[in-house]
Symmetry: C2
Subunit: 342 residues, 2 copies
């Protein structure tokens, strides 16, 4: 039943079906269950374990607690020819994105640049599935969200202030995987620090500070009373601030400070908004679409030809394997997820 | 005539007048001379010496060489309700920005988000004066440009591929200086490495590699045959790629690789495009503008209250001193600039 790495291998459709049934069983509406099954299936398929089927354990637990709606229908506000807002109504974000992204893509194709503001959502997913939805339609796209205040500003910061504030970007490439990056503006993911803590291993310098703002390699001192650090010194800190502002107050929504305050120590999923911007190369260029594509491809070739890598390549390689050989699911995880159907 | 630091001090208007007359004397048209005098005066006023009056020496030299037009009238293409493009027609960028930014601001105020693409420009100026033009109108704004290919990708890069690719962002704050950052996505500015080379001092690790891609602290090995590095490892490298794509092929314009190739070893000012995005908080929010402003201000307070700094504060402090006591100009520079009128 398992392969040589101790994994069950299922076709993508079977992974999706399993996720969908688990979410429906937990009381989620059909549209939400489908939208969330889409993103956790994509995560498992691309070997992003922390955004794969594992998430079903957290999501179903959260649903039982009753703070997150599993059934609210997203409300679309078609604001202007270039702006659409979607009120997620305190549900998870994937359905709000799915609904909003159709409007976003249509607007970008019509006026060249457009913004999607998602408000009042619980956000647990990676940003790259959203980005790839847009690149698949020939659009360039950027997305960003706050989270909970866990990260301290560069240059004298001692207190958690920013979220891990991911930023993602994508560029469509004809007949191949798009150019996509998706990274936290914190030096490391919070889950990575947590893994070091559980393993009793020190974290590398530069990941966090203790309660007094002193650099530390003790993961416990960072998680309990300390703060994470941004990547890239003052520049990373500035980017993180930008993300707070654009995906927070700009769209009438919460900062990471607000989100953590609202959580009140419950340790729940961050609650906030998201900003997605889509660009039409056809409308922003000077009419020479083929030349534009060639110049972009020449840049990618220049990067790859000298031995450097484009982002997301590990993920795309996993995807190709999964589509050919089935999606690997660690046996323990498979049983845990199946048990959610009991 | 000079103050205790050996500087001449002139009122802002006198600095502007001097710059304007120098540019007119060099054969520049009145609109270009005014637009460029605006940005070099702002640079000198804010004690950004490398973007201040010093630039007049380079600009007038470039004009004499005849590659850059000092008189071309920018051509506005009003593309869609959300997109305006300005063809700078091989002139310097400030006039194209001045003309285009009026359309950009109007569009952002009308549809919530808008893009300005500047094409075919020689770009020498900092991005923050452009950002502050938009924040002064209550808009949030982002700007980015490629440059010449001087920077190698993270993770195995050996050859210059990206520009120093600056990115700037601004957020309007009522009754005070805006939140503004403007940084290169290279680890250090090219001019900074050049200064170390002239002074015979080693550069810090992480700024560059030699011709074989090996890390070096020898500035000469970086400048001659080597490459600069991006800030922030693979994340900075990804951002730099994004800037190449958005301010290059997206808007039908050149990448830094293309710009350097076009230069053909002449060592001239980079020639490419620029992307500026403007956002209207009034149209993207949920109607509670005061609450949005308060959440943003709470974030700034949280940063400052713990002893960290907001970006641009050194610059704003210099501005306040300049407005009160006159703009300081090093005596040597003052004489060099005055000599351009002979």
């Amino acid at each position: 039943m398992t392969d040589e790495s101790g994994c069950v291998r299922l076709p993508v459709e079977a992974v999706h079906d399993l996720a969908f049934r688990v979410l429906r069983h937990a009381g989620m509406s059909e549209p939400h269950a489908r939208a969330i099954a889409d993103v956790v299936t994509a995560g498992q398929r691309d070997d992003c374990q922390s955004h794969g089927l594992y998430r079903l354990l957290i999501i179903t637990h959260t649903l039982r607690q009753g703070t997150v709606s599993g059934t609210a229908t997203p409300v679309v506000h078609d604001r202007t020819p270039a702006v659409v807002a979607v009120d997620a109504c305190s549900a998870f974000s994937p359905l709000a994105f799915e609904v909003g992204s159709r409007h976003l893509a249509e607007k970008a194709r019509t006026v060249g640049i457009a913004a999607l503001a998602i408000n009042n959502c619980y956000h647990f997913s990676a940003l790259w599935p959203e980005i790839e939805t847009l690149t698949a339609q020939g659009l360039a796209a950027m997305a960003m969200t706050p989270s909970h205040a866990w990260v301290t500003p560069f240059g004298g910061g001692t207190r958690p202030t920013f979220g891990t504030n991911p930023m993602a970007f994508g560029w469509p490439r004809p007949d191949r995987f798009p150019y996509v990056f998706d990274f936290a503006t914190s030096a490391a993911a919070r889950g990575e620090i947590e893994l070091h803590r559980r393993a009793g291993r020190p974290i590398p310098p530069g990941w966090g500070v203790d309660h007094a703002g002193h650099p530390t390699t003790d993961p416990d001192a960072v998680i309990n009373g300390g703060s994470m650090l941004t990547f890239g010194g003052h520049k990373g800190s500035a980017l993180s601030t930008m993300i707070e502002l654009l995906a927070g107050p700009l769209i009438g929504d919460l900062t990471s400070l607000d989100s953590l305050e609202r959580d009140g120590g419950a340790g729940g999923t961050p609650f906030h908004g998201e900003l997605v911007i889509a660009f039409s190369p056809a409308l922003l260029g000077l009419g020479d679409t083929q030349g534009d594509t060639q110049r972009a491809e020449r840049l990618f070739d220049a990067i790859v030809d000298q031995g450097a890598r484009l982002p997301s390549q590990r993920r795309f390689a996993a995807r190709e394997r999964s589509l050919k050989e089935g999606v690997p699911i660690p046996l323990d995880l498979y049983h845990e997820v199946k048990a959610l159907l009991d």
